[in-house]
């Protein structure tokens, strides 16, 4: 399901870089969507906003938690997916296609090299034990205080 030609970040964003147009499309992975579960709201930046690699460019909220969206590249927002906010199911159904979030014009495309390949991302998920929730491991995304 995860496209081979995309790049991935440790905070579970994906990046599809078009070398011709020098534009990067950014979304969040199926893993991130599954962990958040029960999505209710997304906040995205505006066209023209500057974003910096490793810092928040928006937030996504589910019933149980809220997470920052972390920019995988430094640059300017050139397009925002206006449809996704009104239909968050898109993120569940097609996180790598119609569920894209923003397009970034990177100011330093060499930052792409700091991102993971699909294989590396999947190894990263395996290594953190994150792909095996059926083992009954405690879910760190869940804040017990939300239910105290």
């Amino acid at each position: 399901m995860r496209p081979d030609d995309y790049k991935y970040s440790e905070s579970h964003e994906w990046i599809k870089y078009n070398a011709k147009t020098k534009e990067a499309t950014v979304g969040i992975t199926d893993y991130a969507v599954k962990q958040l579960a029960d999505l209710v709201h997304i906040d995205l930046p505006k066209v023209g906003d500057s974003v910096e690699q490793g810092t928040a460019f928006g937030e996504i909220e589910s019933v149980k938690t809220v997470a920052d969206l972390i920019a995988p590249l430094t640059g300017k927002i050139i397009e925002v997916n206006k449809d996704v906010g009104g239909n968050l199911d898109t993120l569940k159904e097609e996180p790598f296609e119609t569920g894209w979030l923003v397009k970034i014009k990177p100011s330093d495309p060499s930052e792409l090299e700091s991102l993971m390949t699909k294989k590396e991302y999947e190894e990263f998920l395996d290594a953190s034990g994150e792909e095996k929730p059926e083992k009954g491991k405690e879910d760190e995304d869940v804040d017990e205080d939300d239910f105290v």
């Binding site: 579960a37 149980k64 929730p133 879910d139 939300d146 105290v148």
Partner: protein, 356 residues
């Protein structure tokens, strides 16, 4: 919490087999969700859902002195409760603030209390401190399992799965049906039953409901369900700095009954200065516990519970605000991570089931 390693209910393996996400909840390893909070929520509102509540504290009170003892500790007049009835009540401090909220099962040779898992130790300590005369306090929490069925199809489900007929049971009553001790109680805003079963039979009974396609429901949906129904959660909407009258739970406090701990303070305090209010947000963002509630730029309170209402498809919350701001329609704001979101005061509960 005195326990370092989380306790497991007798149904722990069943939750793991159902691929539930498990979390530590006040010293208990409990399922927070199976398929998803919203799916589970909707199952309870439209059909029926199955809960493992074996973490809830269960305490038996025996002895000839038990009614006098309970009369002194509880906010309701225990002498006026007919046997076979359940009643919501409180243990209060001398200041009239809540030590815990609980359900009293009155009558028979014993009385019985169901208390919050998070407060079981504190409740037992409080009771033992005030124990006198012929009163025996038995913590039975680990001796039985507690399974709940909640939702509009609860009666039908009980008939079909357990082959018992609870139709004649009134709401907030208890009875022995066949081999089951059952109360018609719950924490979801729906009709439903809580079934006390021997640990050795817990798996078998649980699996009978699962095999009948009753959806298992985790603590996540339990929280959204009780919030829609505006049922308070100790630690969120109630604590030892809050009185039941501030929370609007006057129905569970009889100020005219014979003396109980906290009564004098509540009488002296008169009308509460702050009250629990319901908030409906314009934004879909969730107002979570602790977020500031603002009125014209001034902080007037803090969110105690807030979630997404799957039924209303709106962001809902509760907060203590000055009594004069609790009027329906009052415009307020909630500071959600630095951004003010508009909210209006609404009547509680947010959701009330249609009674058939």
């Amino acid at each position: 919490m005195s326990v370092s390693k989380p306790l497991r209910t007798p149904l722990h393996d069943a939750h793991v087999a159902l691929k539930a996400r498990m979390v530590d909840f006040h010293g208990w390893e409990m399922p927070i969700q199976y398929t998803g909070i919203i799916d589970e929520h909707v199952a309870v509102r439209t059909r029926a859902g199955l809960f493992d509540l074996s973490h809830m504290g269960r305490v038996r009170i025996q002895g000839a002195g038990r009614r006098a003892f309970l009369q002194k500790l509880l906010t309701i007049d225990v002498d006026k409760i007919p046997p076979g009835k359940c009643r919501y009540s409180f243990f209060l401090t001398e200041k009239g603030t809540a030590i815990d909220d609980l359900i009293l099962y009155a009558g028979g040779p014993d009385d019985f209390l169901v208390v919050n898992a998070s407060n079981r130790d504190a409740d037992l300590a409080w009771m033992r401190k005030h124990q006198s005369g012929d009163v025996t306090i038995i913590d039975e929490t680990l001796q039985t399992s507690l399974i709940a069925i909640q939702g509009p199809r609860s009666v039908e489900t009980m008939k079909r799965v357990l082959n018992v007929d609870p139709t004649e049971m009134g709401y907030y009553t208890f009875a022995t049906l066949g081999e089951y001790f059952v109360s018609r109680t719950g924490y979801t805003g729906e009709d439903g039953f809580e079934i006390f079963v021997p640990n050795a039979k817990a798996h078998e009974i649980w699996n009978r409901f699962i095999d009948a396609h009753i959806a298992p429901i985790g603590l996540g949906a339990r929280d959204t369900l009780r919030t829609e129904a505006a049922m308070p959660l100790y630690g969120n909407d109630l604590d030892d700095a809050t009185t039941p009258l501030e929370a609007g739970l006057n129905f569970a406090v009889d100020l005219e009954k014979p003396e109980f701990i906290g009564q004098a303070a509540l009488k002296a305090a008169g009308q509460p200065q702050r009250r629990l209010a319901g908030l409906l947000l314009e934004s879909k963002r969730i107002a979570r516990q602790g977020y500031a509630v603002m009125n014209a730029g001034v902080k007037v309170g803090a969110i105690t519970s807030g979630t997404w209402s799957p039924v209303m498809e709106r962001s809902i919350a509760m907060a203590y605000v000055p009594a004069e701001l609790r009027k329906e329609g009052t415009p307020l704001e909630v500071d959600i991570r630095g951004r003010l979101e508009k909210a209006a005061v609404v009547k509680l509960p947010f959701y009330r089931r249609k009674k058939t």
